[in-house]
Subunit: 123 residues, 3 copies
């Protein structure tokens, strides 16, 4: 069993934080909760899921097909439907097992939704 | 490492949804958050946990003994005690590691409790 | 694949509970949500994370370096910063992937924070 490997596409930007963006050990990859909210050109908050996960998966030599589980944390029930389109775009037909819950708050300021994930890689 | 396999005892009923009831890869099985609330003969909401998981485990060739972890999401602290009896029935003495948290809301309408799970299978 | 093994450093004290402190199967270890709150000498609630996990890891023949993922459940956003120092002490530079969410309540009375974890062991 190979030792754990931190997956960190952002290098020094994570210095001082007390978690890794993702950790791989053997063929398992654990991806930290990731805020999927971004501001659009008009300053409105929009869901833009998948970009951060894509960077992590690239760095780990994995793809969205390798994700077997996700948990989505949202602050309002209404916001959840917006995630379906994102999920179709990033997962195609290979949807992971998933849980979605409405939480009191998220740690990222202004975040509407956060997702963490587990992937199992080919090798 | 065999590729991922969606476990879906309900077939077309899941068409349009953006998650699989469960996903297996290798000997690991990830089960999506499952609402354990049902209406009894008098229209009262009751906890009837385990039925949905049983169907998924059957389809995957697994048993409750293979479940190593669960997370239970409840909307009120009072509702949690009701889950203990269900857990004794389905797990016997082989309890998984578990976390229970009180969330703001669940996505399933009228749900009182939701549980997701991870199983590790024999082969 | 060896069968599941409950990790329980507290023996009979867990009798009657419907979860195991941790479960190991193969080289994976799942640690139940653990309240990190303790009362200090003045009766104030303080975060004292890591002690319970240390007992579980010892019993399982693992170390904090083997932890690949944690989820932290807190009741107020303000309480989260207090966890960073604990995480530095127990993880050193080997931080796991992690998610932190603000929940409505925790099941342990007076708990401020709860953490669950997944470890992957050498063998």
């Amino acid at each position: 069993m190979s030792k754990r490997q931190a997956i960190n596409p952002w290098g020094e930007a994570f210095k001082g934080l007390t978690f890794a963006p993702a950790v791989r050990r053997g063929n398992m990859l654990f991806i930290s909760g990731t805020d999927a909210t971004m501001l659009d050109e008009n300053g409105r908050r929009v869901i833009r899921g998948g970009f951060i996960e894509q960077m992590i998966l690239d760095e780990a030599g994995a793809t969205f097909d390798d994700i077997v589980w996700t948990c989505e944390y949202i602050t309002t029930k209404e916001g959840y439907k917006a995630t379906a389109q994102v999920r179709r775009e990033i997962f195609g037909d290979n949807f992971p097992a998933s849980t979605g819950i409405v939480v009191k708050d998220l740690l990222s300021r202004d975040a509407l939704i956060e997702m963490d994930a587990v992937a199992i890689l080919d090798k």
